[in-house]
Amino acid sequence: MSNTILTTQKLCKTFSNQGLQQHVLKNLDLEIKGGDFTVIMGPSGAGKSTLLYALSGMDKPTLGKIIFGGRDISQFSNDHLALFRRKNCGFVFQQIYLMDNMSLMDNVLAAGLLVSKKKKTLAHEAAALFEQVGISEGLWRKFPTQVSGGEAQRAAIIRALINQPRIIFADEPTGSLNSAAGTAVLDILSEVNREGRSIVMVTHDLKSALRGNRIIYLKDGAVCGECNLAEYVIEDPKRSEQLLAFLKEMGW
């Protein structure tokens, strides 16, 4: 239990639209441990993204608690949440969402400078990370619209990593990328996870899901089933078989 970083208790999210209520998440009880690579799957409309954004403190749940590192973040004010996010969470979006009036480096620093004031060290760290994911200086001086989607997404991962958050939240990080770029992005995420950082990822994609060691299948806002892949290494074909069997069971 000691390495549990995130638990939810009866997490509910309801959207109201002119009196019509739509319950997207229903009484979810989840637990995410340090070092987990959790993958959330499920049919569209199952509330995967909603869950991800509620977990990450981007959005407040309607009911229930989210305990992050012993604190209930569901009661935080918006600004308090912002302060919480910048330290503890990194985000990778399907639409990448880099600020397109800033170069890749500036995008990373715009996040990094929120936490650390040491610009030089930060710039060095960022440069090292860029190097690590194969983005050269010439490239990270460019604007997001001038680089390919894969490069932009890698930069977005670095932006997520720069503050050394405890969890990375990824919302279909490969969704807008071609398969080669997607693999590269997944490789980076796997590597990040291997270094001990927790990742929570929402995906539709089997190849992405295979990277996770814990698959949570969401249906109609509730956990439908769970599958543990941790015992198999990534290359093991059994891993993929197990996952397929699980998904079939879930009715994917």
């Binding site: 600004d79 009036n101 715009a110 610009k119």
Partner: protein, 783 residues
Amino acid sequence: MKNTLMLALANIRKNKGSAISLLVFALIAATLLNLGLVMSLDYGKHFDTRAEQLRTPHVVIVQSEVLTTDEQKNYLENYPGVIEVEKQNILSGFGDHYLNGSNAECIVIFANAAGEQHMNPPQLIGESYPLDNESIYVPYLMKAGGGHDLGGRYQINFAGEELYFTIAGFTEELPFGALMNNVYRFYVSEERYAALAADFPDQHACLQSARLFEKSLGLQLELDYAKEFSFTEDNEEPSQVHSFSFAYNVIKSTRTMIPSIMSIIVIAFAVILFCISLIVIRFRILNSIEEGLTNIGALKALGYRSRQIIISIVWQFGGITIIGVLAGIILSRFFLPLIGRILEAQSALIWEPGFNWGLAALSLLFLTFSVALISFIVAGRIRKLHPLIALRKGGLTHNFRKNRIPLDQSYGPLSFLLSLKQLLNNKKQALTIGVIIALISFASIAAISVYYNIGIEQDEFISIIVGEKPDVNLILKNSGDADSLLKRLNARPEVRKAFGFENISLLADEYNLNAWIAKDFADLEGKMLHAGRYPKYENEVALNGLLAKTIGKEIGDRIVVKQSGAEREFLITGFIQKWEESGKTMVMTYDGLLTLQSDYQYRCLSVYLAKGTLAAAFIEDIKKAAGDIFISTIDINEQVDSQFGSYGATFAAVAFGMLTVTVLVVILILYLVIKAMILRRKQELGIQKAIGYTTLQLMIQTALNFTPVVILGVAIGGLCGHFGFNPLFTAIARSSGILETHMPSPTVWTIITCLALIALAYLVSMLIAWRIRKISPYTLVSE
């Protein structure tokens, strides 16, 4: 037509906030424009109308009775263009009266209320009592600007004697009843008049008035009359105090001066605001095109023609303007009586401005047409927009730029750097705001300077108007006493210096000028001179710069001066200016005048007192010491206070109004721009929130975004206002012969105002940026 109207209405409904702010802009511009137009056009016209109704003379000539001949009356009657001539016996002489409790020098005219008078007969305003031997009718100014009430005690010092009356009524007095002219006509009963005439045998005078076909010819008649009778050898005492004349134009310009300055300021401000409105409208249209790009694409795809969409935009903005302008015109209708009352204190002219349909229509047409035109031009770029490109939202906004401020290499707070980036990416918008802020701060700084110089630190302004401002003026009964008195005065310890300084009428290059005479101009402390130097030798003069320009004289040229039949050439050594005499001023040395009139002697002495000496006490002292040799002793400071005190309030109102409008404009413009910006950068703000920016950080970033432009705009506008104030003022006062002024702009005030404007802009930005809190990072996902 129906379709386009519908589109326009839909657009207005969609964006109520900016529609309202545009409305306010149009409203303010229309209000000010209408106010300015009515004031500048209607006020003068009203004066003319009223003057015609009262049969105001176009020339008035006051002369000592002994000098008045039938020949003169014949001359007037036979002068081409004269309709009627009237000659009246009056009493005229130097005196003092009291305005708001302080004493002021003036020329006093007593007239017999029962006497026959066709031109501007005593017309009573408001309540009145019949005249008895103790009561008097005084000009309306005494009530409007002087604080006197019906039935109150009224003191006039006339030719050295103190006279007391009860006020029985107020007359609507055009030629002799305004602050600037400083000549007042009082009506007393027949018996009292006879008594006064017996008491003051030396003050008997004649008032000759004439009306002409063309009132502007009065000036020429005045000049010709002076040439014919005043500067001849027969006229033994040409500088007689009660020998003077006014033409209608002079009367009118002195009485409408303050309204015209005010109207110029207001119109200038209206024009600035109007420019701002146009800039804002242009900005709004571009913005709405950008925002509604997909809409426009959809409309085009539906088969709307570009023209229809453009017309809908023209409808949208033109419609808002029409409503705003109409409201503004109605609003100005409420402001006008207020302004009329403020002006009354100086002009003593009862002005009840009616609704001027013509001017209102003019404002409406002008403003609406310009707005419609600019909408049409700006919206014209819709024509070039292909529906597909519009639908894709592409083309217009897509661009690549250089990274101006790489975060890893720049220093400074994060919010500041980010806002700077944003600023550099929106240069056009920054320019728009900068220009607007510069214009508006220019206007308000100029207004504050006007207020400061006219309302607070009047010295410079007054010295421009009166030229020389000593502490005490002494006017002697007998000019022979001057030299000995001066010697005694200069020997007194409380007198810093005393010298003879007075004006006489001269003819220079055929112009009747008011010449100021002094022995040594180094004694003068006023700032009449604005080019060259004062005359030093007997063959030198200095004259008004504007007059010199009209007659084509430069410094170093020679000019012929006539007096008492003698005439001589003088060298022009400098240009002077003095508002009071509307540019018909010159100065000349005492020795120089002696070459024309060898028996000339001073009657009027200027005394400067040592610091700490009370003028009133000094006057008492000198009266005791010198005996009864003065016609009048005047405490100049007190007089100035009474004459100019009320200007402060007037211009404070103007300055306050402008500052209010400035603040309003700053708020509106920032509201428009920041709102549009937040809308446009919604996604970016969402991303920033997602990665952990707090609302406050983003607000500061947004507010800082405009701060550099605002600072720059305020700095430019402030500097222009600060240093451009004097040229601006000169431009306004040019027609009165003022070519150069050195009125101090209040540096501290300017700085404070500028800082306040910047702070205001920052606060307002923060306040408007407060709506960022509504943007949630979650909108990224849900959209």
